[in-house]
Symmetry: C2
């Protein structure tokens, strides 16, 4: 069965005739199942998380396959950038936007942007400069300015997926929103940076080029966001107007899935940042669209998106683990086995310094702008933020492959060394830093015991008077006495923007696009119940 028809439009071309491909799929699915089962059994273990399990299983499988094929069969395991950017990343980022606690996210919006954009740029500059200064002593090979800048961009990309698994949204909402929000903006920033560097004319680097670069960056940031918001609103409008539920709930779920993916692919088509687009599409969909569908569609979408994201994450780590053992690049680099290790050590050091160089100063800046009553980022929390963003993952690998390979082969020695160094950095940071994160967290922020108490940070944020007043539908301005100091000047805009937004949302957006309390009546659907979310469980709905 199965002939290679040589078609372009083949989302998933294994060649059924290719027995090896079917074997690969079987191995992968079986491994995914095992990872889920093992991850379940190890749940509650203070060291291991799901990503480490998947990574280790990927490494073991890669080793077994290498041994079984006498070291010849490595091509099966090569990392595919397309697989990553077209299939695995969208569900993960969309689900992150869909499940994110919007209040936390937007309350810390300025800090997140500060960390994600400015922080990534600081980290990028430090890693690039450091690489320029330190690599030359190692005699790696011919690297030009563009290569060093690319290295800066590659290793500025944190692994937000891994971070997500380490922190818990319910236990440490502030940390989670900061680290994860930063991760999303960081992903977008580093990919945009990388592309900008690829297109940069190194010869004519002056103020105009820099200005152009900054303008381009801001353009990408805003158009990507607007595209995501627009797609989300369109889905809300379509579902609200057409009342799909009259005939079939499957149509609702289909439209939500397809339009979320469409937002990502449209963004790719327009050369924007798909990551930002699909993230904001997720936020808008959870704010409007999700409230317009029937109850069963709500349960379905919430769990389906979480499940798809979960599978994609495990798949990703398995894949990275298996890819680490691709022998071709190891063979080339092995003529000087010490060099990749030395390089990796330097890069890891630069990553740690580069991250420290923005986390602590920017936290200080962020704390300065905060009112007395609002929770500041404590030093312990700063350490956790610094640590949680040290991991490097699939984005780094994808960018490194893009930069240092040509048609899948790492033939030039310097390229092979760079790829192997990237793999070492990713493996080391994910496994060692990843393994140490849970113990570090429990050391710095001891978890409260008892079933019903949320953790320190969670209760802090609920006690926060500003947040409490924000949670109500109306925003009581009279409670806040004017304070003529730096804090007020920096805080006031955020508050009034939020108040204006609530008014605008209630008066124009919700009546048009639906949302909580503005759901059209659907005969036969249990929407009119007082608390439709009562049995959804996992995510604290009050925070949405």
């Amino acid at each position: 069965m199965g002939l290679d028809l040589g078609a372009n439009l083949r989302p998933g071309t294994f060649g059924v005739s290719d027995h090896d491909a079917i074997v690969s799929i079987n191995i992968f699915i079986a491994l995914l199942c095992s990872c889920i089962v093992i991850g379940h059994l190890l749940e509650g273990n203070r060291w291991v998380n799901e990503s480490t399990t998947a990574l280790v299983m990927g490494l073991i499988t890669g080793a077994v396959i290498l041994l079984a094929t006498n070291g010849t069969n490595s091509r099966i395991l090569v990392f595919s950038e397309d697989l990553f950017f077209i299939y695995l990343l969208p569900p993960i980022i969309f689900n992150a936007g869909f499940q994110v606690k919007k209040k936390q996210f937007f309350r810390n919006f300025m800090t997140i942007i500060l960390f994600g954009a400015v922080g990534t740029l600081i980290s990028f500059v430090i890693i690039s400069l450091g690489a320029m200064g330190l690599f030359e002593k190692l005699d790696v090979g011919p690297l030009d300015l563009g290569d060093y800048l690319a290295i800066g961009a590659i290793f500025s990309a944190t692994d937000s997926v891994c971070t997500l698994q380490v922190l818990n949204q319910d236990e440490t909402p502030l940390l989670y929103s900061l680290v994860f929000g930063e991760g999303v903006v960081n992903d977008a920033t580093s990919v945009v940076l990388f592309n900008a560097i690829e297109n940069l004319d190194i010869g004519h680097f002056d103020a105009l080029v820099l200005l152009n670069f900054i303008g381009n960056f801001l353009y990408l940031f805003f158009t990507s966001t607007i595209l995501g918001v627009a797609t989300g609103l369109l889905s809300a409008y379509i579902i609200k107007k057409l009342c799909f539920a009259r005939h079939s709930t499957d149509r609702e779920v289909s439209i939500m899935m397809l339009m979320a993916y469409l937002s990502y692919m449209l963004s790719m088509l327009l050369d924007l940042s798909g990551i930002l687009t699909v993230f904001f599409c997720g936020i808008v969909m959870s704010h409007y669209t999700w409230h317009n569908v029937t109850e069963s569609s709500r349960v379905t979408t919430k769990h389906t998106f979480a499940t798809l994201s979960f599978i994609a994450e495990i798949f990703l780590f398995l894949y990275v683990g298996m890819d680490a053992l691709d022998i071709e690049k190891w063979k080339l680099a092995s003529s000087s086995p010490k060099k990749p290790i030395a390089l990796s050590a330097i890069i890891l050091g630069l990553v740690m310094v580069g991250r420290a160089a923005f986390v602590f100063p920017l936290s200080f800046l962020s704390n300065l702008s905060k009112k007395e009553a609002r929770p500041k980022i404590s030093f312990k929390q700063q350490v956790i933020i610094w640590w949680a963003g040290l991991m490097r993952g699939a984005v780094s690998i994808a960018l490194a492959y893009n930069k240092f390979t040509a048609s899948g082969h790492t033939e030039v020695r310097v390229n092979a060394i760079m790829i192997t160094s990237t793999v070492i950095v990713v493996l080391f940071s994910t496994m060692v830093f990843g393994l140490l994160t849970k113990p570090l967290l429990t050391l710095l922020i001891p978890p409260r015991t008892g079933p019903n108490t949320s953790s320190l940070l969670s209760s802090q944020s609920i006690l926060d008077p500003l947040l409490t007043s924000m949670m109500g539908s109306d925003f009581d301005v009279g409670q806040i006495s004017p304070q003529y100091n730096l804090q007020f000047i920096l805080t006031a805009p955020t508050r009034s923007v939020h108040r204006l937004w609530r008014k605008f949302d209630d008066r124009f957006m919700r009546p048009m696009f639906g949302g909580r309390g503005f759901v059209p009546f659907v005969p036969g659907s249990p929407v009119e119940q007082s608390d439709p979310d009562s049995h959804l469980g996992t995510v604290a709905e009050a925070e949405r």
Copy 2:
């Protein structure tokens, strides 16, 4: 972004660098959304169904793309057998098994096997013989015995997906289970037949070869079924034993999805019939596994599987529609434009005769074996069964491509003619027969009015005393007075098998694998509620 890394394991290789590919994905997703919206708006229309909409939209898009590229860009639209067999077919067939009304299906099991296996063989013989007799007069080109047998297998494969959309499980349960059940067995039979013919040594065709062929067919049938049942039971056992719900419902849903797909891929790996395997895996999962998960996982899986199947179906018809305009094969065949049309007419005639040749005699046989009280297949119903199976779809196209192409090009004229004829048969049967099915149904079986009455057939089957007693947990044998005639001899085994099965299921299977009433207690899950299915709505749970 994006380099072609030349990897083997790339489930979905578009080449991100390839702008055309991204355009294609965008067009496809936008079309899928449009089909869903248009399908929703046309719901209730007596002529149109979703598959026709998708087919027409695919044709229009194909035409627009052809015109836009001045007839050069046809390769984007080529049908990929792998895409069909690896990605689109599994969710459709699995969902069919998952949502099928098991009682109806197993009650008509013998009839379904009769229609699906024996009927397909009869149809295969008639089409093969007819083609042998009639094609030679047209001077198509050199076709040998193997080609004629392959043509018989290709056009014996009904399009169960299209049929599914035309009939309604709740309104006409008997017809639905017969036509659809036949469709699944038919898909499996024709694919197995086709493979058997490909491996057949035409030169030495004798009784031993025939016996070998039959033995092989039975082996495939049973091993495929057993594999599906085993995978389903394994998933039930794992989920029951490990209590995934303690930590996360996403793991349950992931395991169900992955193991369903694993059953299909394992079947492909072992050269069995994936269609049969995944169908029975779906049945077992809905009987055991589905009852072991939390309520939100139940809602999620039910709707997710339905949604994935729904999207795959629309995708499929869009794809077939777009592929129909692939110009390369039309160019080759266009040297004699009348031939494909004449061939298609002959094939359509043979299909109609071949189907009539088994539906009416086998219905008679099936009616003979039925007790007085049980509903017989009336003549009107026989006509509908005959009609609903006339459509030819993606399986035919996939098999035709497999047989009549080499590396995606239809260079030999006879091959080009056969492919174009297949496309014409599929388009004509799906559109014309598909369009006429709804009116035919309403003509032959007028729908009952009123919101709460089920249709004629549905109420018939509920009134059926045998079924009513079967629905209870205990099977009252005393009610049935022995009748010493043909009917009893043929019916008795089915009844006692069912009684034994119920006993076995209650005593051994359910305590081990879970299922309704044997669900392990999961803290925090609403499983212990008296009627967990009360709000699931769409599917009549009492029938499960």
